[in-house]
């Protein structure tokens, strides 16, 4: 079997740990794979739920991504396990977006859901908390109204920190298309938020 550690950066303890878990999982150790699930399920759900605002569909996409990762353990060619899982999740989320177009559901019930809003600590300034809550609510609503492609590009670039080239590889489009989606998406957001921009300028 290919020694994954030889093809990756071994100085990073996180990377080393992940590669060991992958190798054990490839040997049939389900617990090792589930350790990876425990390590990354929160961040992957956070990624997918921004791309697919319907939380049930996002949850299904994450589960399907882990299934896909387990099925394709032998396809892992080294490098960052987190990036590998992210790529699988982005693909699963895009599949879900495409399926959503075929079978539209009740769009984005999360808008009125308090758990989507930032938690307010006891010491928090109530006025500031209200501003943040309102800001999150209207931004989430605006994000849901731009196109899936624009939202995906913005999430990957502005939130996840991937660069244009990585996003192009992940989403299978050209560099120019990625740039266009990001910039047009931002401008669309600004148009949608035009009446409430004071909340963001504060």
């Amino acid at each position: 079997m290919e020694d994954l550690r030889s093809t990756a950066v071994s100085d990073d303890p996180v990377q080393r740990r992940d590669l060991i878990l992958i190798e054990r999982a490839r040997d049939g150790d389900l617990d090792a794979f589930n350790d990876l699930v425990i390590l990354y399920q929160d961040s992957l759900f956070a990624l997918v739920v921004r791309m697919v605002p319907d939380r049930d569909q996002a949850s299904d996409a994450v589960q399907e991504a882990f299934f896909s990762a387990y099925r394709n353990l032998r396809g892992f060619r080294g490098g960052s396990v987190k990036s590998w899982l992210n790529r699988i999740c982005v693909n699963a989320a895009m599949d879900t977006q495409r399926a959503k177009k075929r079978r539209p559901v009740q769009p984005y019930p999360e808008f009125e859901d308090e758990s989507w809003q930032p938690p307010a600590g006891e010491e928090a300034d109530p006025e500031l908390t209200a501003v943040h809550t309102e800001r999150s609510r209207i931004l989430t609503a605006a994000l849901a109204r731009i196109t899936d492609d624009q939202r995906t590009a913005i999430v990957l670039f502005d939130v996840q920190g991937y660069d244009y080239a990585e996003i192009a590889t992940m989403t299978g489009v050209s560099l120019g298309t990625v740039k266009s989606r990001i910039h047009r998406g931002r401008l669309s957001l600004r148009d949608l938020l035009e009446d409430r921009l004071e909340l963001f300028r504060a």
Partner: protein
């Protein structure tokens, strides 16, 4: 006094109170108010309301609205600066916040940001939106995504079992439409093959006999082969999918005997033998020299009907197999 109010026009009454109604109606309205207690009450209430509204105190002016010289200078600059804004590319302003501008664009956009208030505001707004986006809270994860042993067994299946498991998942959005499409195509193709639309006047009988020729096996093929060999090059050139090949390959068989006479001798030109199979009986009695056109008919390539039949059967079978696989895959899914 009779209550006449329901027949009175309230709108006309309101116009009268405001002094907007026609002068000619004034006397009639005064009479109406004097004779109708309800109208009189309405008029009294509205007049009191108007008086109270006029008596509402005006809040103090919060500030002096005169423009200062600084205001005037700022407005003049802003007006001049934003006048050219429509020609500025907002996508480049967006790219500037990522540091992703080409070397050629950098000074251009820097100039816009320095002199165009609208571009500067756009950049500030986009920065604020990006920051707010990064600060968006994440809703709590809904499930634990660890795989159970049964999940792993199902997902990890390789080969045809893994394919079955994947086909059976509800998220597989390809198999069902593919199976439906192939099955439908297969059925339509079969109908066309067996129907009057079959090319070259093809009929069910001809197709079935073509298939029958193929099914009869190597014995007939061997006979046909010998016939072909005996009849020379013309026979070999006959289309195997047409009636001609049937006539050629199965000439000795009683099936080919149309009842108008024996099959043409093997020394007869192949074209005539082919015509015997599909043309009218009259053609079989015609002199070879007098029926050159009939002889050319079977030599026309006509593989479409059998090809369509084969493709249709294949599509139908693949579609049905996909349906069955989907059903089996679902049955194999772990609970």
């Amino acid at each position: 006094m009779p209550d006449l109010h329901p027949s009175h026009d309230l709108e006309t009454l309101l116009d009268f109170i405001d002094g907007e109604g026609p002068v000619a109606d004034a006397d009639a309205l005064r009479g109406q108010i004097a004779s109708c207690t309800e109208c009189a009450g309405i008029v009294a209430d509205l007049r009191a309301l108007a008086v109270a509204t006029r008596a509402t105190p005006t809040p103090a002016r919060p500030r002096d609205f005169r423009l200062t010289p600084a205001d005037a200078a700022r407005l003049a600059t802003a007006g001049a600066a934003t006048a050219a804004h429509p020609s500025h590319d907002p996508a480049l302003v967006s790219a500037s916040i990522d540091g992703a501008l080409d070397a050629a664009d950098q000074p251009v956009v820097a100039g816009w940001l320095a002199t165009c208030a609208a571009c500067a505001q756009l950049r500030d707004d986009l920065l604020a939106i990006v920051a707010a986006h990064r600060a968006l809270p994440t809703p709590p994860r809904q499930a634990d995504y660890q795989l159970s042993q049964s999940d792993a067994a199902r997902v990890g299946r390789m080969g045809w079992r893994g394919w079955l498991a994947r086909v059976g998942t509800s998220r597989d959005g390809l198999t069902r439409p593919l199976a439906t499409g192939l099955t439908a195509l297969g059925i339509v193709g079969l109908l066309i093959s067996a129907g009057p639309l079959a090319p070259l006047g093809g009929s069910q009988t001809r197709i079935l006999s073509t298939v029958g020729a193929a099914v009869r096996g190597p014995a007939d093929q061997a006979v046909g082969g010998s016939n072909s060999a005996k009849s020379g090059a013309n026979h070999v050139e006959l289309d195997p999918g047409s009636g001609a090949v049937y006539g050629a390959a199965s000439a000795p068989s009683p099936v080919v005997d149309t009842g108008v006479g024996p099959v043409a001798p093997v020394s007869q030109p192949a074209a005539s033998a082919g015509a015997l199979a599909i043309a009218s009986p009259a053609a079989t009695t015609a002199d070879d020299a007098s029926a050159p056109d009939l002889g050319s008919l079977p030599s026309t390539p006509a593989p479409v009907a059998p090809t369509l039949l084969i493709v249709s059967v294949a599509a139908l079978l693949i579609g049905l197999v996909l349906f069955a696989a989907r059903r089996l895959g679902r049955g194999r899914r772990a609970p």
